[in-house]
């Protein structure tokens, strides 16, 4: 007994080994639990995926029962304003195209509501640290409000320090930079949409100075789109665009709802104006033999 309990170095090693083995077995068992609800048998012998919840209706039935055009009201002060903004962002995220104008009308109605605008800015600040998709969405909504208080926040947002280091992918992308740049590009949309002297000056400054091409390119497009006199806007932009980035002024845009004829005419004109963008022929090597042996599953379930 005493011999067994004596803490020699080899015994410690043995104990640690047993502990690691036990951790491996317990961990694997926890992660490999079988489903509580059995599902239909798959055509292969491999286990099918499963769920703990019972099967529900098809999405078409769920969508048919979802109420439409019921944007939550944006009102209140302090905590109440925060709750209403949070509920509005929840709703806006799930909304579909036919509800787009509902949101625009609601946002237009709070242009002078400082409490609501402040609640949006707080939500963006919070979401920037926790949920990129929510931060992007909330920035879109704030930009659409076009409020002076919101403009102040957008100025600060586009001037947040741009990270120089971070998680670098093998291709050289720093994901912290991309995450911030996509949000700052959305903030630029809001500033350009304000379309006043100070906001325009900030957008033009970012065309020249922002470290990310994601933001510089957005600033070019957003400035151009929001100006009535396009030729004058192009002349102004030409003074700010970095050397080598002039082509971004002519970037081809497919606008939502644009028909093929309209886009294809723009493409033809673009390629004529910029023959240098036509790429070289791709280099071809040896083709792989075509297989036809993979199992073909049936069609996906009807929506």
């Amino acid at each position: 007994m005493s011999q067994l309990l004596r803490p020699t170095r080899s015994r410690w090693l043995l104990l640690l080994t047993l502990f690691a083995l036990a951790a491996l077995l317990v961990g694997s068992a926890c992660y490999r639990q079988q489903p509580a609800v059995s599902n239909r048998t798959a055509p292969t012998e491999a286990p099918t995926p499963g769920a703990r919840e019972p099967a529900g209706p098809s999405p078409s039935r769920l969508l048919a029962n979802r109420p439409r055009h019921n944007a939550p009201a944006l009102n209140g002060a302090g905590d109440e304003a925060r709750r209403s903004v949070s509920a509005f962002i929840d709703w806006a995220g799930q909304s579909i195209d036919e509800e787009h104008d509902d949101a625009r009308k609601a946002l237009e109605g709070v242009r002078d509501n400082q409490e609501i605008v402040k609640a949006f800015t707080e939500e963006i600040t919070r979401a920037q640290k926790t949920d990129h998709s929510r931060a992007l969405l909330a920035l879109s909504l704030l930009g659409e409000i076009r409020s002076p208080a919101g403009q102040e926040f957008l100025h600060q947002f586009v001037n947040q320090p741009f990270p120089r280091e971070g998680t670098r992918t093998q291709e050289g992308e720093i994901i912290e930079q991309t995450a911030l740049a996509t949000l700052q590009a959305k903030a630029i949309d809001g500033l350009a949409y304000m379309h006043n002297e100070r906001a325009d000056a900030e957008v033009l400054r970012q065309v020249q100075e922002h470290p990310s091409i994601i933001v510089r390119a957005e600033a070019i497009q957003a400035y151009l789109w929001n100006q009535q006199d396009k030729e004058a806007a192009r002349r102004t932009l030409s003074k700010y665009i970095r050397k080598g980035e002039e082509r971004y002024l002519d970037q081809l845009t497919r606008e939502q709802g644009e028909q093929a004829d309209s886009f294809n005419r723009k493409l033809e004109a673009y390629l004529k104006a910029h023959p240098e963008v036509i790429p070289p022929a791709p280099e071809k090597g040896r083709e792989e033999a075509k297989q036809d042996d993979s199992p073909r599953p049936p069609a996906p379930p009807a929506f």
């Binding site: 080994t17 961990g27 995926p49 799930q94 998709s133 996509t182 081809l252 993979s294």
Partner: protein
């Protein structure tokens, strides 16, 4: 004695490494708003994931600790994986006068079955956050925690960007099928920075501009060996994301994320860029 101790130490280290592999999963505590907004549309459609795992070559051994047996838990990787498949299978408008390509093209690129788009592939998740995804010949498509985790500063942990990566990696499989290596870089693309591409040291493509309607739906795989009828992996990804942003019935948060990803890629990943921009810059 020393050699015995060394052996025990080796075994112990091996077991610890093994358990680290078993536990090495992405963050499983949360999901993004875009994820949940899409998810709430179907509320966990079991018939769909029972089709999806076969269609995508999802194997229980690869995904068992990632929600394969808990497929209605939206915080786990496999539910997020099939949520992205749901997006590309059902939500595109397929408007020949406005869409770049159709569901038939995007499905064939992402799904496992051998076709004109590629030889058979299968999908796996990876904890390697030095990549968004990878195509490992001959048949493995990997998507990384950067596309799943909501606790990392990644802009791409949403169903649109994840499905966009299925396009990108699936198109590397197309390259292999038709004998293209994608450029001189070690990552299956051209080296950079080069031209308008800011990637460093690798990850640049050419954009092969084509009009709307230039490809019949189902014909995206076609090429004529010249730049006039060809796609690069980043281009297929941008066109897909753009179709989600502008030509789909996806929830607004998914479309917003898709547009941001498409435009970021269009502006920074093409030697002869920028590629197409999608949508106007009105904030909402």
């Amino acid at each position: 004695m020393n050699s015995k101790r060394t052996k025990v130490l080796c075994v112990m280290l091996w077991l610890i490494c093994l358990s680290a592999t078993a536990f090495g999963v992405c963050n499983q505590a949360q999901s993004s708003q875009a994820e949940r907004d899409l998810w709430n549309e179907h509320g966990c459609w079991q018939d769909f994931f029972l089709w999806q795992y076969l269609a995508y070559g999802v194997r229980s051994g690869d995904w068992s600790n990632r929600g394969y047996f808990d497929a209605c838990n939206v915080n786990l990787e496999y539910p997020k994986h099939w949520n992205a498949s749901y997006l590309l299978t059902y939500k595109l408008n397929d408007n020949l006068a406005q869409s770049w390509h159709g569901t038939i093209d995007y499905r064939a690129t992402a799904e496992a079955a051998s076709s004109n788009f590629h030889n058979s592939i299968y999908h796996q998740a990876t904890d390697d956050t030095s990549i968004y995804g990878a195509f490992n010949p001959p048949d493995q498509v990997q998507t990384s925690c950067l596309l799943y985790d909501n606790n990392k500063p990644s802009a791409n942990n949403n169903p649109a960007s994840r499905a966009g990566d299925y396009m990108h990696e699936g198109w590397h499989a197309w390259f292999r099928r038709y004998g293209y290596n994608g450029g001189g870089g070690s990552c299956g693309h051209f080296t950079g920075p080069q031209g308008a591409c800011t990637m460093d040291p690798c990850g640049c493509d050419y954009f092969y501009f084509h009009g709307v309607g230039a490809y019949a739906f189902g014909a995206m795989w076609e090429n004529n060996g010249t730049a006039s009828r060809f796609h690069s992996p980043n281009q297929v990804q941008v066109e897909f994301l753009c179709d989600i942003a502008d030509q789909s019935s996806a929830p607004a948060s998914v479309k917003t994320a898709a547009r941001a990803d498409a435009n970021a890629r269009a502006n920074g990943r093409f030697i002869n860029g920028p590629g197409y921009r999608c949508g106007d810059p009105r904030p909402w």
